[in-house]
């Protein structure tokens, strides 16, 4: 397969130079496929050694030990590891191609309250950045608008598709609310000091959010005839069909956000960021708030913070009994998202059991996003969305994919980057 693609690439390159698109999406396999003899990392904290997994009709038909008889095409993955597809939540993947080129940026719309802005229609299924996710095991993403107070509505996609419609596995799953901060940056261009200064408007800003949600609730109950797309898009948060992803880092901001959104009738709520969430674990546990922690590979927010604070934060929350996932938000977040498995690995390096760390990017994330009926763990009946790595996929030293499947379709692990690698390796071989 790999050789075929390489050859194909060479042909394409011969005609088109470098102007090629993404790898062609995989096709459904004919008949069942059995992966035999690998170590299965289920994504729920457990492992099955010498595991056989039967894939059929896009689903995991069965999973078990050596006593499970292989069916159909057999792929021997002895000494290799198999994992559920890694999920990148709250991501702008597919919305921006090149950060510095404005023409390629479609991640942030103008305005403060934009629940009706939908990421899915701008999701670029042919993004070259997206294809570089797959060789590292990232197979699913929640493509999410950025900026403003309510950035818009996200959708969940799989990363091997012809277009956005095919990519979507859960449409319009939630809205994204950026909670105000009790601090704001000094407006240095207006002569203020560059540091952070208390945000005097914090109260007014949270009140504005309340007013907005109250209005949305009123609109829903009235079932008005006047069209209002924004409030229509907000409706789902009151009946639980849409999750509110609320972005907050400070202790006080988190407490305010949770109380206020509960009071406003929001059914499902997920905390994104949560830099200080570890200080209020009992509260978050009592309120059953899951947390999607920001990029682990980050510097501490304050000079005096522990140097390893961002590394260990997910571990602290897990140990406190919270449901925790990881995201890759931050500078250059699209291209950095392919490091998501390594963020989990780094958390394991802080003392969290590796299988627990794996949950942070698979099973837990699926639960948080509400797609755990199909994705996130290797279990019979769920989607056959998984990958095989020669070694431990959470360690960059050993993460090396040999196979990947999305909904049972076997996908290419080549990218334009592997093609360039081949092309120039060939250049030097010829010399």
């Amino acid at each position: 397969m790999k050789h075929f693609i390489t050859l194909y690439t060479w042909l394409i390159l011969g005609f088109m130079g470098m102007a090629h698109a993404q790898q062609t999406p995989g096709t459904p396999s004919e008949g069942p496929v059995t992966l035999t003899g690998g170590t299965a990392h289920i994504g729920d904290g457990t492992i099955i050694n010498k595991c056989n997994i039967i894939l059929d009709n896009g689903k995991i038909l069965a999973i078990g030990g050596q006593d499970l008889s292989p069916v159909g095409t057999i792929i021997d993955i002895s000494d290799q590891h198999v994992y559920p597809g890694i999920i990148a939540p709250v991501s702008s993947l597919g919305l921006v191609e090149i950060d510095a080129v404005r023409q390629t940026r479609d991640d942030a719309e103008l305005g403060e309250y934009l629940p009706n802005i939908r990421s899915i229609i701008a999701y670029n299924a042919e993004s070259r950045v997206v294809e570089t996710m797959r060789p590292n095991g990232i197979l699913l993403a929640q493509t999410t608008p950025q900026g403003g107070t309510i950035s818009g509505t996200s959708s969940i996609v799989q990363l091997d598709a012809w277009n956005w419609e095919d990519a979507a596995i859960k449409l319009d799953d939630g809205i994204h609310l950026h909670w105000p901060n009790t601090y704001r940056r000094g407006r240095w261009w207006a002569g203020e000091s560059r540091g952070w200064t208390p945000n005097k408007n914090y109260g007014a800003q949270t009140q504005a959010i309340k007013t907005y949600f109250d209005s949305g609730m009123s609109y829903r109950q009235e079932q008005p005839t006047i069209p209002n797309e924004a409030f229509k898009a907000l409706t789902g948060v009151f009946d639980g069909t849409k999750t509110v992803y609320v972005y907050a880092d400070g202790e006080r901001e988190i407490i305010d956000a949770v109380h206020q959104l509960r009071d406003l009738g929001v059914k499902r709520m997920v905390l994104v960021g949560g830099y200080e969430a570890y200080k209020i674990i009992p509260f978050l546990k009592a309120q059953e708030i899951p947390v999607i922690v920001d990029r682990v590979h980050a510097t501490p927010a304050q000079d005096d913070d522990d140097y390893d604070q961002p590394f260990k934060l997910p571990k602290l929350l897990v140990e406190g009994g919270l449901l925790v996932g990881l995201n890759a938000r931050g500078s250059m977040e699209r291209m950095s998202t392919r490091n998501l498995p390594f963020y989990a690995g780094h958390v394991a390096g802080q003392g969290l059991a590796p299988e627990e760390a794996l949950k942070l990017v698979t099973g837990n994330t699926a639960k948080i996003l509400g797609i755990d009926d199909q994705y996130g763990t290797l279990s019979a009946g769920k989607s056959a969305t998984l990958f095989v790595s020669q070694g431990d996929a959470l360690d960059m030293r050993t993460n090396r994919l040999t196979h990947a499947f999305i909904d049972g379709r076997r996908l290419s692990l080549e990218t334009h980057q592997t093609e360039l690698y081949e092309r120039y390796s060939e250049k030097y071989r010829q010399h």
Binding site: M18, E97, I98, D99, A100, V101, R128, V129, T182, Y183, R185, G186, S193, R194, G195, W196, T197, P198, G250, E251, R252, H297, A298, T299, P300, Q302, D303, D304, D306, Y307, D308, M332, R334, M335, R338, N339, F342, G345, H346, A348, G349, P354, L394, D395, M396, R397, T398, N399, R400, Q417, T418, L420, Y421, Y424, S425, Y428, H431
Partner: protein, 989 residues
């Protein structure tokens, strides 16, 4: 009103006589008479260390005629008995902008920055303005003069606070009752400088601290050349030359900036008087060693508002400590014999001066030293010791009269005499009338209590202990009050002229309209109540004069003492040598005297601390070829070449990223200039010796490097700028050719022995041509990479390093042939157009083609886990583990020409080593100990201890702040979260 009258009389009688004798007079008869004054029986503080009891000071014509024990006072002299009073020389504020308004900023909305100067016939840079004479825009400010006099000042040095070279300042007496003709003591007394650009021009260069420093150096070179060869008109350099022998004041800022200014001055023989250094206590040894004089503001930080604990937690230990330690600064300077003057500069309001000075004295500053810092020292710094600063005959009659020892808690300044004219600060006629009196009138007897401090007295009136508070005024000898009498439930008003202490008589005005005389007799036993309101024992413990505890650096995670090289034996480790032996298992390594002393099995190391490293890995410290930590500024983008600027000028040893890098196993970094221009600035290569000052961080015999940059950034295509050459890659090539041609000619001229203008920029570029300086070039696209190699070859030198070099894989063969090395990212791409072909296999391809290849960070965060980034080359490109490890150790050491000292484990090399708790390339591994030159700078266990100690210290300081009495009523600051600027090479600041 009375004061004004007195003052007017003085004006009429004296100044015309001694100064304006040749002025014609048409509005009145030209006649005058100057009264001479004497104060007798006073304690004369002639100088800070010479005091005369029962002395007399005799003044006339604005000057002191005599001051001493035995002064003959002629009969016509107006003599006042000053028994119980003290007389001191008036204070001198050696650094103000008194009466000189700063020009408003003039920045029109431009599409692009302004690179060229706006002036003709002046220096080429608009921010060099030595031709500004403050006296030309001086307008005497009576209101501010009064504010300064109220604090005890009689003379101020003032100048135009605008620009890097700011021109000459003037010295002026704060004498409202005369004219500039008399009160300006010296119209061109000084030359003034700073690092800050002028608001009068938007010229972009310099855009950074290091640019300002380079510009100042070039200014002195240019002056030298102008003096020798100048054949054009340059009003700026002409003025600068004329000022060279005047005292030079340099407004620098914090202590590190004062030392930066001092170094420039020392190079050119200009002993700058350094304005700033409120944090001098942090680096007092270096400051004392500089022998520089200081003018130190006393704008001690206000306490923080801690009412909201959520806010309070954002405060950094550094800020809390500074609040506690800053008032000790003058004392510490004094104890280290640093000559210093105090100033009102930087105070929000002039009237805070005495309160802040009080804090310094409470913190242990010797009052005698405080007096010197306000009188003799500023006089000396201004070169005016012969005219002001002491009470010696012949000097200006500038003195203050107090009712007790100056700086003592309850002492009041009564008068401030300037040029022989009196300005009353407190009503000297006012008697100490506070006390309890028995008042009798008609057949009545009442108790009258007067308390508080002038001018705000309070009064109580009644029978026995049942007193009512009333309102009271005491001015110009008259006491007047109004109070309700409980006995009659009627308002009683009273008035009395106070002639003597002990009692007074006057009149009461009753509600029924009757006026009744009364007598008030002071009760013998009662003491004045007000004196207790500021009991010294209630001073907060923050202001005790104990030793000042600072850490190295004086921030969170600072060291109690500087780490020292130890003798340590690591027993039974897996060694990643980075040498031909590869990894050695179960091997010992002995660190001694800062070096790797011995490597072997079963080593005997007498006296060494033994660390069991069984199951652990020992490697050379990580080296980051491309870092921007530990610097205050990164880019000087004000010109297309800034070869003259030096990152080593702007190191920031307090940057917490140094400590965090150590926690990631990094021991050496090259701090590169940014990529704002094709020719950037000179690098600094440092060892991460957390706690050392700038000098201690820098490599000894540091290899010389300079940053170059290609592509989108230097043609300014990612931001609004359209008027700086080059705007294309074509232009970038020609810019290099042009500069190297000029550098070559410059070198030839220099070699020829003919006189030449020293040009710091061309000096630097000539070093490249001479093989003495190496280029590390920011680069992405293969075309431009090839271009720079060709340019270098045409000038017979080799490019040392391409950094970033994300398309290096496309021309690794050409790079190998040229002999250049590569320092790249493991997997970055897609952040701008020129990196769309960046691939993570880049490092592996280049390495396999024989290019010396390193993985770097260019990022504060990634730098903390470069071991993981190296491991990515195993995934992307099948590097062996040993070769992958070299990409963050010996390979960058080679690129930086420090591989003979560090980068691998070999006997005799610097002991820059890391003990890891597992495989160093694994994502699961942590650095346990990081040693630099054999001293432990990071230790996982110590880190835990530091966290606890910091939490304790912060809490202690917060508790002190909450309970602080001295600041209880003062203004409070909102807690600030510290701002971190994470530099990447595209950070413009």
């Amino acid at each position: 009103m009375k004061h004004l009258t007195t003052l007017l009389i003085c004006v009429l009688t004296s100044h015309a006589f001694w100064a304006q004798d040749y002025f014609p007079k048409n509005d009145q008869l030209n006649e005058s008479y100057a009264v001479r004054h004497a104060l007798t029986n006073v304690t004369l503080h002639v100088t800070p260390d010479r005091t005369i009891e029962n002395g007399t000071i005799l003044i006339g014509d604005g000057k002191i005629i005599a001051a001493g024990k035995k002064v003959e006072v002629p009969a016509e002299v107006l003599t006042q008995d000053g028994s119980g009073l003290h007389v001191y020389a008036s204070f001198i504020d050696a650094y103000t902008d008194f009466g000189v308004e700063k020009p408003k900023a003039n920045r029109g909305g431009r599409r692009s920055p302004q690179y060229e100067p706006t002036r003709e016939g002046y220096y080429w840079n608009d921010h060099i303005r030595p031709e500004q004479n403050a006296v030309n825009s001086f307008a005497y400010d009576k209101k501010q003069a009064e504010a300064l006099r109220a604090q005890g000042f009689g003379v101020a040095h003032t100048h135009l606070m605008d620009g890097i070279a700011r021109g000459s300042g003037l010295v002026v007496a704060l004498n409202d009752g005369s004219t500039d003709a008399e009160r300006i003591i010296d119209a061109a007394a000084s030359q003034c400088f700073s690092f800050d650009k002028s608001t009068q021009s938007a010229q972009s260069y310099p855009g950074s601290l290091m640019g300002s420093m380079a510009l100042l150096r070039q200014m002195y070179h240019d002056l030298d050349w102008f003096n020798k060869q100048g054949h054009t008109t340059d009003r700026s350099l002409t003025a600068l030359g004329a000022q060279m022998n005047k005292p030079a004041f340099f407004e620098a800022g914090d202590q590190s900036n004062t030392l930066r200014a001092h170094a420039i001055g020392a190079q050119f023989g200009v002993p700058y008087i350094l304005v700033g250094g409120q944090d001098a206590y942090e680096n007092i040894d270096a400051i004392a060693a500089s022998n520089a004089a200081y003018i130190v503001p006393i704008n001690f930080p206000e306490a923080y508002d801690l009412s909201d604990p959520y806010f309070a937690k954002h405060l950094a230990l550094e800020d809390l400590r500074h609040w506690q330690q800053a008032p000790h600064n003058p004392r510490v300077l004094d104890q280290h014999d640093v000559p210093f003057a105090l100033t009102t500069f930087e105070l929000k309001r002039t009237n805070e001066f005495s309160k802040q000075l009080r804090k310094a004295i409470d913190a242990g500053l010797n009052p005698q030293s405080a007096l010197a810092a306000l009188t003799t020292t500023p006089a000396k710094l201004l070169g005016k010791s012969d005219q002001i600063g002491t009470l010696e005959a012949g000097k200006w009659a500038n003195f203050i009269v107090t009712d007790g020892p100056l700086f003592a808690a309850h002492t009041k300044m009564l008068e401030n005499w300037v040029q022989g004219q009196v300005y009353e600060l407190t009503d000297r006629g006012a008697k100490k009338i506070q006390g309890t009196y028995t008042m009798t009138y008609s057949d009545q007897s009442r108790t009258l209590e007067i308390s508080g401090d002038l001018p705000k007295l309070s009064l109580s009136f009644g029978v026995g202990d049942s007193l009512t508070k009333g309102s009271v005024q005491y001015t110009d000898h008259w006491l007047q009050w109004s109070v309700k009498d409980k006995m009659t439930d009627a308002v009683v008003r009273g008035t009395a002229r106070i002639n003597e202490v002990g009692g007074f008589s006057g009149k009461l005005f009753l509600e029924n309209g009757s006026e009744i005389p009364f007598e008030a007799q002071r009760n013998q036993t009662n003491e004045v109540k007000s004196a207790n309101s500021q009991d010294p024992s209630s001073q907060s413990e923050t202001l005790s004069a104990g030793p000042l505890r600072v850490t190295y650096p004086n921030v969170g995670y600072g060291n109690e003492a500087l780490p020292q090289a130890e003798s340590i034996l690591f027993r039974n480790a897996t060694l990643w040598t980075g040498e031909d032996q590869g990894t050695l298992t179960e091997t010992d390594l002995w660190v001694k005297s800062g070096k790797i002393h011995k490597i072997g099995k079963g080593l005997k190391a007498p006296g060494a601390r033994v660390i069991d490293a069984t199951g652990k890995h020992l490697t050379a410290g990580i080296i980051d070829e491309h870092s921007h930590i530990g610097a205050l500024t990164i880019n000087e983008g004000g010109q297309n070449s800034s070869a003259e600027v030096r990152i080593s000028d702007v190191l920031n040893p307090k940057d917490i990223n140094i400590y965090r890098n150590l926690a990631g196993g990094v021991t050496s970094v090259q701090i590169l200039h940014g990529s704002a221009n094709p020719i950037g600035g000179q690098s600094a290569i440092i060892k991460l010796k957390w706690g050392e000052d700038s000098e201690g961080l820098l490599y000894k015999d540091m290899p010389k490097f300079i940053k170059f940059a290609l592509g989108e950034n230097v043609k300014q295509s990612n931001w609004q700028s359209f008027n700086r050459f080059p705007q294309t890659r074509m232009g970038v090539e020609q810019l290099y050719v042009n500069y190297f041609n000029r550098a070559k000619s410059y070198q030839e001229l220099k070699n020829s022995g003919t006189p030449y203008r020293v040009d710091e920029e061309l000096e630097t570029l000539a070093e490249i041509l001479n093989g003495e300086r190496f280029i590390s070039c920011h680069s992405y696209v293969q075309s431009e990479i090839n271009m720079l190699m060709k340019v270098a070859e045409s000038f017979d030198f080799t490019v040392n390093t391409f950094t970033h070099i994300l398309e290096g894989y496309k021309l690794a063969d050409k790079m190998k042939a040229h002999g250049v090395g590569a320092s790249t990212f493991s997997d970055w791409w897609a952040y701008k157009y020129e990196v769309i072909h960046a691939i993570p296999y880049n490092a592996a391809i280049m390495a396999k083609e024989g290019v010396t290849t390193a993985i770097n960070s260019d990022d504060d965060e990634m730098a903390r886990r470069l071991n993981q980034e190296a491991a990515k080359t195993i995934k992307y490109g099948d590097m062996s583990e040993l070769e992958a490890w070299k990409m963050v150790t010996i390979n960058p050491a080679k690129l930086l020409h420090i591989d003979d000292r560090t980068g691998s484990l070999r006997e005799g090399k610097d002991a820059d080593i890391v003990l890891w708790d597992g495989h160093p390339l694994s994502v699961y591994t942590k650095a346990e100990k990081t040693l630099v030159d054999g001293a432990v700078y990071f230790d996982l266990a110590q880190d835990q201890e530091k966290r606890l100690a910091m939490a304790q210290e912060k809490n202690d300081l917060i508790q002190i702040m909450i309970s602080d009495k001295s600041d209880g009523s003062g203004p409070k600051r909102a807690p600030r979260k510290r701002d971190r600027i994470d530099f990447e090479c595209e950070t413009i600041n």
